[in-house]
Subunit: 378 residues, 2 copies
């Protein structure tokens, strides 16, 4: 059986990127290593759609989120937290650990925080120093209207800090045009790499806040990173073989063109949602994003057992719901080195496993609806 | 020309470990991934010579050091810092960032902090909460007598926290027997891996201090790591393809046996020092360790230019001195996937480049002294 990875991180990685990882290790302070970091940093600016520097940290995405919190906020400073799921809660955990005064704007899982809700919070809390939001809430499949968030936050002294880990590079996101002050992503989602690197962009407005905030840690101190990156270097030994491999995947993104990539993901996501609905299933997210499709498990089907059968019988590895959502949703990623035909195959396998589970559907309903939508897209 | 890596991190990685990195990415929460983490954690305990848990963090070694500081010390608590070079200074930087009250026990570069110096500091500062030390001070080649340090610190309420990044797995180190409470290492030195993972062991005495210390961060919070590791898991997406590859290199270490590995490195280091001296050169470190040999550049030789020529003409990449030592020392690693014959080759190339630089030596003096010493060793 052919194993196929559809979890919303990690995602499939191109063969040439993997093979780069198998090359001999070289010295991380050599001029060649610095040239690679410089190139990767430029390509990241393109992916982020920013003219500001993008820093490469050797850590999970959560490490990048910690850098965002610890550099921008002093203890007890007020932060508006927009939370619509587990990854919003990750912001909360970090904010708590760093002693922030948290004002939470919360919605039930499956819903999105609206610009109106944020607007009210900003007007009630004009002393907020930063707003923390999530581009793609991968736990529910919700996407946030960051363009609208950015317009609101830009009018205030607060920073807009975004977890773009599970969406950046797959769904439309203009860091500069949308006024995102700090944006974080990780290597293992849309950027077609194994985990191990986090990337963080920092705006001029964010630097002014950072430069007037006391240092709170060492490893994630962005001031150190800024000083090093000016010399195409890192303050500590980086995961430089990962950086070398990230270069290969970023070149693939540049070759496709970021607008084309966004459009392709939008077309796939739209077709996938059409396929899901044609099977008689529901999309879980109220405001679904294009990085993944989250399917509500239908009544009478054991979500966790069926997902296991999907992997065991057909080789397709999707992700279950987390925490309270376990068994109630299936999360199907379109990110990374994944194309329309991969997603079509996944829908085929989902049809089959649902039939095995006794769920009533017309075989081919999902895949033909996918095909119809995809063919109509452009 | 054949490039050969002799920098004291990163070090050469076995081909089978590199090829593991080229395998397809799988899901990091799958039972197979947990089984691998469990296995790696056990093998790390063997390498550390501890029965305590060893945590795998996705970061550089410095991230592991930050975990050690931030978990064991509250702000303003007193820490005794033993510093004999750049890596002792790394401890200082982290301690400063976390607001420790630092009592520094310092020696000039090339010297080692002695147990007597530490004993005095401990008796003058009975309120010290922890002692920070370095196993292999890679910037100078010095090794510290951690066995003696451990005996002294064990008699006090303080913790012994050790940076073992550049030595653990190459030179003798018994974490439990020597009373090391927190020991940190990284993947890219003696553990035969690319950079990207840090490993941290924690003793029962250290846990008691950690559990009574306020949480200071999130990503490096060892309490979270402890909770996850109890289920063979990590709190955040780990660099799991690196962990998978680390397993391969750890198996190589287990197959050789840690005592055999220490003995082999001791024999190589001894032969290397004999070779260096037979060339008319001096070993820089007063108390040299077995992870690397640091050679004092002889008078009349341009250290930096000659090192560049060594790489360009003969393919051997050694490391220059750092900061004020630049141009005055050469650092030749024996760590990682390196054996006696590799080091012999490096000495041959050093002889040649010194002859090219007009330095007077008998060709073969170094390599034959190496051979003589190595043959006499066992």
């Amino acid at each position: 059986m052919k194993p196929r990875l559809f979890t919303p991180g990690p995602t499939p990685v191109p063969e040439e990127t993997l093979l780069e990882l198998a090359k001999p290790v070289t010295y991380h302070r050599a001029p060649e290593a610095k040239a690679i970091l410089a190139e990767v940093s430029e390509d990241l600016k393109y992916v982020f759609q920013t003219t500001n520097p993008v820093f490469t940290l050797t850590s999970s995405g959560t490490g990048g989120m910690e850098a965002a919190v610890s550099n921008t906020l002093a203890a007890d400073e007020k932060a508006i937290l927009c939370t619509a799921g587990r990854w919003g809660e990750r912001w909360r955990g970090i904010l708590k650990a760093f002693g922030a005064n948290i004002v939470a704007v919360e919605v039930p899982y499956g819903k999105a925080v609206t610009p109106e809700m944020l607007e009210r919070a900003l007007s009630t809390h004009p002393d907020a120093k930063a707003v923390f939001a999530t581009l793609s809430e991968t736990s529910t499949g919700v996407g946030h209207d960051l363009e609208a968030f950015g317009k609101l936050v830009a009018k205030t002294p607060a920073l807009l800090v975004v977890d773009g880990i599970s969406g950046l590079g797959a769904m439309e996101c203009h860091v500069d045009k949308w006024n995102i002050d700090v944006c974080v992503t990780g290597s293992q989602k849309a950027l077609m790499m194994p985990p191990g690197l986090a990337f963080v962009s920092v705006s001029g407005k964010a630097w002014r806040k950072i430069d007037s905030t006391p240092v709170r840690n060492f490893y994630f101190d962005l001031r150190r990173a800024r000083k090093s990156l000016a010399e195409s270097d890192t303050p500590f030994t980086p995961g430089h073989t990962l950086i070398r491999a990230q270069r290969v995947s970023l070149k693939k993104i540049r070759a496709e063109g970021i607008e084309n990539l966004w459009a392709r993901h939008a077309r796939i996501a739209s077709a996938c949602r059409a396929g899901v609905q044609a099977m008689g299933l529901k999309v879980f997210a109220e405001r679904p994003n294009n990085a993944l499709t989250v399917i509500a498990v239908p009544q009478g089907v054991d979500g966790t057992a069926t997902l296991k059968a999907l992997e065991k019988k057909y080789g397709y590895k999707l992700a279950d719901g987390q925490d309270t959502l376990k068994g109630t949703i299936w999360r199907l990623s379109h990110m990374g080195y994944t194309d329309a035909f991969d997603v079509l195959g996944a829908l085929s396998a989902i049809e089959l496993v649902l039939l095995d589970a006794g769920f009533k559907l017309e075989p081919g309903a999902g895949v033909s609806a996918f095909q119809k939508s995809y063919a109509a897209g452009k």
